[in-house]
């Protein structure tokens, strides 16, 4: 069995990649992708720990798995709403550059 540490390390790398993507990218699409990457990095860490608990025969071994489903559902909802907004913005501006969305700056 692969050791949990590796999963967690991979998860951290993915999370960092996602974070860097969020910080550096301008396109809203790429931002979404990066955020999805971060969410799934977190999911990976959760299922890794859940696997470890179940191997140890813990009582609530499946809780982590269940939590991941909730995260997936929320991510899906978020993408649905977010993409809807994105389409609306694109229709108005013919661009998805988030740096241009700064009208409310003082």
């Amino acid at each position: 069995m692969v050791q949990t540490e590796y999963y967690v390390a991979l998860s951290a790398v993915l999370f960092a990649l996602g974070g860097i993507g969020v910080l550096t990218r301008r396109s809203a699409i790429m931002l979404f992708l990066s955020i999805e990457l971060m969410l799934n990095a977190a999911n990976l860490a959760i299922v890794a720990y859940a696997r470890q608990w179940s191997a140890a025969g813990a009582q609530h071994a499946l809780d982590g798995q269940a939590a991941v489903f909730i995260v997936l559902a929320i991510a899906a909802a978020e993408v649905a709403v977010g993409l809807g907004i994105l389409v609306a913005i694109f229709r108005n501006r013919v661009s998805t550059d988030v740096d241009e969305l700064s009208e409310v700056r003082a």
Partner: protein, 638 residues
């Protein structure tokens, strides 16, 4: 009989009802209706007082208890009235003289816009004054005490649109507060010393403390302070001359006949304390005699028809306070009674003159008015002679009783009783002098102002009838207190059962006669001197006397107002100005400065708000990293 006496408990309630009717529905009452309602309320009170008087005469003192007034743990004060010889006599004075003044007011205040307000406040005053004299405990007495103070304040400032009247009312109220403060402290000390605030119980318990005990002296001095405030004695007398700003019947009722005698009543009521605290009692007499002398001198120099009478009132109340201080409680109350008649009459006479002259109050513009106003002139002459101490009129007997008491009071003997006697005798002479001046300048001689003289006319019957009744009273009321060596002294015997006992030296009959003749001589000297200066001297002598330092001190009322101004008013105003400038220059400026800082801070914070989502996200990541590092450092993950 007992039940009938208890009925008199309704008297203050009736007056209160009159006040409520006039106060709430006065706007809808037309013409003389407010005055008639108020007069009826007081008339009913007078009838009840008469019933109480005869009831007490037949069956002695009656006490009525309506329940608890104040309960706090062990501390308990009943709500009740005490009808005894002293309180029913005061009730008769209040409602009797009060009734005449109410009736007179119907004429005097005719056509005034605020007539229902006037009668509401006058009724309220009567109610409060009745509570004051009927109360069986100090706190309930204090309720009446404060009530009359409020009514005095309201009625002095009755014509409040004139700022001077309003501030005169305020002055009376504030100066009285000093005395009220003394009353409160006296109650605290009384409770500490006796464990009760029931007046009868305190009087009964006072002799059980050591004669002249320090706590009794302390209580006495504090009650003296209270009395000095209400009765306008030194050093709290300055409010009374200003109180003349109120309508003249108010001056007659509140500031001559009843309220200003509350201090006399207080000392007589707490006689048990003063009889056992000779030091406090002697202080009372000294204060009173000096007040009487000072005020009599000031009265000579005044030119306002009412202010002369106001200073005269201060002086006469000094006589009463001197009597109760000397332990001759009956003589003090006797002078309250006679003074209520002749001083109310003098004020109402003055009011009649002011009414006739359309508001003129300067005696220098009057003269000769007796020829045009026969009733007012004649009744005022009777009152003048009564107050001056002319034999066989009321003031003669009561003043003589007071002078005799000062001379023979045993406790006072160690504190300069004879000096006090001489000073008060001198004051009696000055009284005759300034009262002659008052009468002569107003009613006799040649008119000094043709226009005013032409305008003068006699007042309507609703005003002259009360004048006549009071004049009759001023003549005959003195016969209730004839010198005891000549005839039975009705008022002394009447009050004897309820008054604390003080020892007096017994004067021989020849000494008594000497005293009687002495006061006649003094009164004659005062009147004669007045005649010489004002009637014969044709003004030249008066003018020459007017240039002496004493005369200018008299005109300036010995500078008390100026002294209090620079001692209290001006520092007070300075303090207020200081606080105001602190508020304006420090607090307000500081706040304004702070509002200047907030936008600056805002502008700094705006710099952080770039509007770039990435920047915010970066700040978030930095924050999470910082938290993680901090958590690692303090060992959360260990």
């Amino acid at each position: 009989m007992n039940d009938l006496v208890q009925l008199a408990s309704l008297a203050p309630l009736l007056a209160l009802a009159g006040a409520v009717i006039n106060g709430l529905f006065g706007r809808n009452l037309k013409g003389n209706a407010p005055g008639i309602i108020a007069s009826l309320a007081v008339a009913a009170g007078f009838v009840l007082s008469l019933i109480a008087f005869f009831g007490v005469r037949a069956g002695g003192a009656v006490r009525v208890n309506f329940g608890d007034f104040l309960v706090a743990g062990d501390f308990k004060i009943g709500l009740g009235f005490h009808f005894d010889q002293l309180s029913v006599l005061m009730m008769l004075i209040i409602t009797g003289v009060g009734l005449l003044i109410h009736i007179y007011s119907i004429g005097y205040m005719h056509g005034d816009d605020g007539i229902s307000r006037y009668f509401a406040q006058l009724n309220l005053f009567v109610a409060a004054m009745l509570v004051l004299v009927m109360a069986d405990s100090f706190p309930l007495m204090f309720v009446g005490w404060e009530g009359v103070g409020v009514c005095s304040f309201l009625l002095i400032g009755f014509w409040y649109r004139d700022l001077a009247n309003a501030s005169a009312g305020r002055k009376a109220f504030i100066v009285n507060r000093v005395g009220d403060f003394g009353f409160l402290l006296a109650m605290f000390l009384t409770y500490k010393a006796f464990g009760t605030l029931d007046i009868q119980a305190v009087n009964a318990a006072a002799p059980s403390l050591a004669y002249g005990a320090a706590i009794l002296t302390g209580i006495g001095l504090l009650y003296l302070l209270a009395a000095a405030g209400k009765s306008a004695q030194l050093p709290l007398h300055t409010w009374l001359p200003d109180a003349m700003a109120g309508p003249t019947p108010v001056s007659a009722l509140i500031h001559a006949a009843t309220m200003v005698t509350a201090g006399v009543y207080l000392i007589a009521r707490t006689g048990g304390i003063f009889a056992n605290a000779p030091g406090a009692a002697a202080t009372v007499v000294w204060v009173a005699v000096l007040t009487a002398l000072m005020a009599a001198i000031v009265a000579i120099g005044q030119t306002d028809i009412k202010k002369i009478l106001a200073w005269s009132t201060i002086s006469q109340v000094g006589f009463m306070v001197a009597a109760v201080g000397a332990g001759a409680y009956w003589a003090g109350i006797f002078h309250v009674l006679t003074h209520a008649f002749f001083k109310a009459l003098l004020f109402l006479g003055a009011g009649s003159v002011i009414h006739a002259l359309g508001g003129e109050q300067d005696v220098r513009k009057m003269g000769g008015l007796g020829r045009k106003m026969r009733v007012t002139g004649t009744t005022s002459l009777i009152a003048t002679l009564a107050i001056a101490g002319v034999p066989f009129l009321s003031g003669y007997f009561s003043k003589d009783a007071i002078l005799g008491a000062l001379l023979t009071s045993m406790p006072l003997g160690n504190y300069g009783g004879q000096i006090l006697f001489v000073l008060l005798m001198l004051t009696a002479g000055i009284t005759a002098f300034y009262m002659f001046r008052w009468y002569y300048l107003v009613f006799a001689g040649e008119p000094r102002s043709k226009a005013e003289f032409e305008r003068a006319h006699e007042s309507p019957a609703v005003m002259t009838v009360p004048l006549s009744i009071l004049a009759v009273g001023s003549v005959v009321i003195g016969y209730v207190g004839l010198p005891a060596f000549l005839a039975p002294n009705a008022i002394q015997e009447w009050l004897a059962p309820v008054m604390a006992h003080v020892d007096f030296e017994h004067l021989s009959t020849s000494a008594e006669w000497l005293l009687l003749i002495g006061s006649v001589v003094v009164a004659a000297a005062g009147l004669g001197l007045g005649y010489w200066v004002y009637a014969l001297g044709s003004g030249a002598l008066a003018k020459r006397l007017g240039n002496t330092p004493l005369a200018s001190a008299s005109r300036g009322a010995f500078g008390f107002d100026r002294l209090y101004r620079s001692l209290f008013t001006e520092p007070g105003e300075g303090l207020a100005e200081g606080v105001a400038s602190l508020d304006r220059d420090v607090v307000d400026r500081g706040m304004t400065g702070l509002t200047g800082v907030v936008p600056l801070l805002g502008r700094l914070i705006v710099l952080l708000q770039s509007g770039y989502v990435r920047a915010y996200a970066f700040a978030m990541v930095l924050g999470v990293l910082a938290l993680a590092v901090a958590a690692a450092l303090i060992g959360v993950f260990a």
